[in-house]
Amino acid sequence: MRPKLEFLPPTLIARILDEAFQLMQKPGIKVQSEEARQLLAAAGADVDETTQVVRIPEKVVRAALETVPSEFYLYDRNGRPTVHYGGDDVHFDPGSSAVHILDPETGKHRPSETRDLARLVKVAETLSQYDAQSTAVLCNDVAKEIGDLFRLYVVLMLSEKPIVTGAFSLTTLDAMIDMLALFAGGRKELAEKPQAVFDVCPSPPLIWSSFGAGNLIALARASVPAEIVSMPLAGAGAPVTLIGSIVQHAAECLSGITIHQLANPGAPIVWGGAPAIFDMRKGGTPMGAIETAMLDAGYAQVGKSLNLPTHGYLGATDSKVVDMQAGLESGMTALVGALAGINMISGAGMLDFLACQSTEKLAIDAEIIGMCKRLLEGIQVRTDTLATGLFEGIDFKADFLKQKITRQLFAVEQYLPSPIIDRDSIRGWQDSGSLDTLARAQARVNDLVSKYRRPAIALRHEQDLVKFVTDLARQAGMKTLPALEETPS
């Protein structure tokens, strides 16, 4: 029996959906994309062109829910289906688009660069706990115009895992789809075996910006998976109650799915988000708050009731350093997400309200993920008798360590953590330098980076990709692309 966390009884889910449908009629959804308004109008929605407000009848939304796929896979570069969006399968990827990196040398937050993204990607590539990569940090050493696609370029050069990414302009989105298609063998082939999912954000409350809606339409037409990242901020950009914010989330997602399915029925899309409560002392959006995790688990349950793939933003912290707050917030929220059966949980590595990535924290978070995944496996029956058979020959001695079955099963019964998790004796711990968690993580990251080997990449693909990105970089005024390998200083 798999452990599962649910907050909402069926009657409450029905009320949430009912009120979400009401919100889509009154006040309606503000849709700032003309094309999206046309699609909605043609489907029977009531469009006010002066206010851009669209009243979407429930039957239009229900029709979209008929065509939207309940599951899909992301493939790695070798065409293996490795991430299953659907059911209660749980995957993790690093949080994306941080503007800062926690400098491993100085311990300071500083603007992130290409070398930082490269290091993050390498570490995420070697850690099996990460099912997917993300375009984790901005590269400040690269022209802004090509920032998004350049981040995807770095990931594609160094990784073969599936990718959670996103674009902040439609021309960039187009270029990024072309980059992925290079490896898939064409856009049609990419649609059949997508390697990436693109985050698309509505603007709370109840607004689909021109860009956000345009993104949905472009992704739908390319049949590249879209992931709605709805961000109700309970108490500021959304009702103060968790349940009220979950209703708003549902209305934003349902309207997004409707636009998306009208553009191309059957295209894959994810019921996702990055909500938070609004902190009433400092005005921040705490990602490590327990209520934030409850919001994610709550809306995921609503998405599951509609048989949709789900995504959430958990496993992050608002702490500025890799300390106990970082550990407790990341651990607790990741666990809530895992127990809620969220298909893709983004956020690992993140500090400071998703503003700062840390490679060291990413390595620590991998341990949290390992433990979460173990917990999801539950308590299993792995032997013919539960215990009686194992007592043969024991004769009141504590000799279970000597049993073959112990050797066979210990590694599946127990998650075996990396040396980041200290289970040493006090003497052993002292002998290895009396290191704290961060110091142990630093050692582990250095070890992982030194062991990292670039996955095989077909030479023509690499040449095509480098040429493609170099051309765009030149148009943006850059002479060369930054190196992906750190050069010894």
Binding site: K397, A398, D399, L401, K402, K404, T406, R407, F410, A411, L416, P419, D424, S425, I426, R427, G428
Partner: protein, 217 residues
């Protein structure tokens, strides 16, 4: 000498396969191979490999213990042949291991025993709840170099001191070193009872025992 057989012996230890280790030992005797040679060049490289992997965090206790058990199974088969030939396996030292009187905790002590024998010590494991005099008699009987005393309870820890005091009274402290261990044992306690060595864990215990025998770790 079949290199293949030696490699199989090493592998049987690495796999923790006691049956196979014993079977290969019988095969060696049937082929008239020198038992000491096959221990040194067949089985010991296997146990060393597991020990190294364990030290590096790549192998785990069940693998280490099973390797120790497989080693034991092979040595049991080879021992009569060793005696018959009048050769003896060079031991790093003889250790009597015991949980003290009134204490029935065994796991830590057994682990230390396994580690010590795997490392090349000859270990006499007396099990749990051993009166101090009985432990000393056993040590004299087997001409032990070291007594290892385990206690898990603060109430039974005092027996570690009792054994040391009794050894002292009989003038045996120079001849027999005492190492102690167990959850409540601290550096301060060790100093207070004037034990010769202590360790927090089984792997550390091997280093301590080697040090007491004057062997470079």
């Amino acid at each position: 000498m079949s290199q293949e057989l030696l490699e199989k012996m090493a592998q049987s230890i690495i796999d923790g396969d006691a049956d196979l280790a014993a079977e290969l030992a019988r095969q060696a005797i049937a082929e008239g191979l020198d038992p000491l040679f096959v221990i040194t060049n067949g089985y010991v490289p296997g146990i060393n490999k597991v020990g190294e992997a364990f030290g590096a965090g790549e192998a785990f206790l069940p693998e280490l213990v099973m390797a120790g058990e497989a080693m034991k199974a092979a040595v049991v088969v080879l021992e009569p042949e060793l005696l018959r030939k009048g050769s003896e396996r060079k031991t790093l030292g003889k250790v009597v291991m015991a949980t003290v009187e009134g204490d029935i905790h065994e796991i830590g002590k057994s682990l230390v025993s396994t580690m010590l024998s795997a490392a090349g010590f000859t270990v006499y494991d007396m099990g749990v709840d051993n009166p101090s005099d009985k432990i000393i008699e056993k040590a004299l009987e087997v001409d032990a170099d070291i007594i290892g005393l385990s206690a898990l309870l603060t109430t039974t820890m005092i027996r570690q001191k009792e054994v040391i005091d009794k050894l002292d009274a009989r003038g045996l402290r120079k001849k027999i070193k005492v190492m102690v261990g167990g959850a409540p044992v601290t550096r301060e306690w060790v100093q207070k009872i004037e034990a010769d060595g202590y360790s927090e864990d089984a792997i550390g215990a091997v280093a301590v025992a080697k040090k007491l025998m004057g062997i470079e770790a």
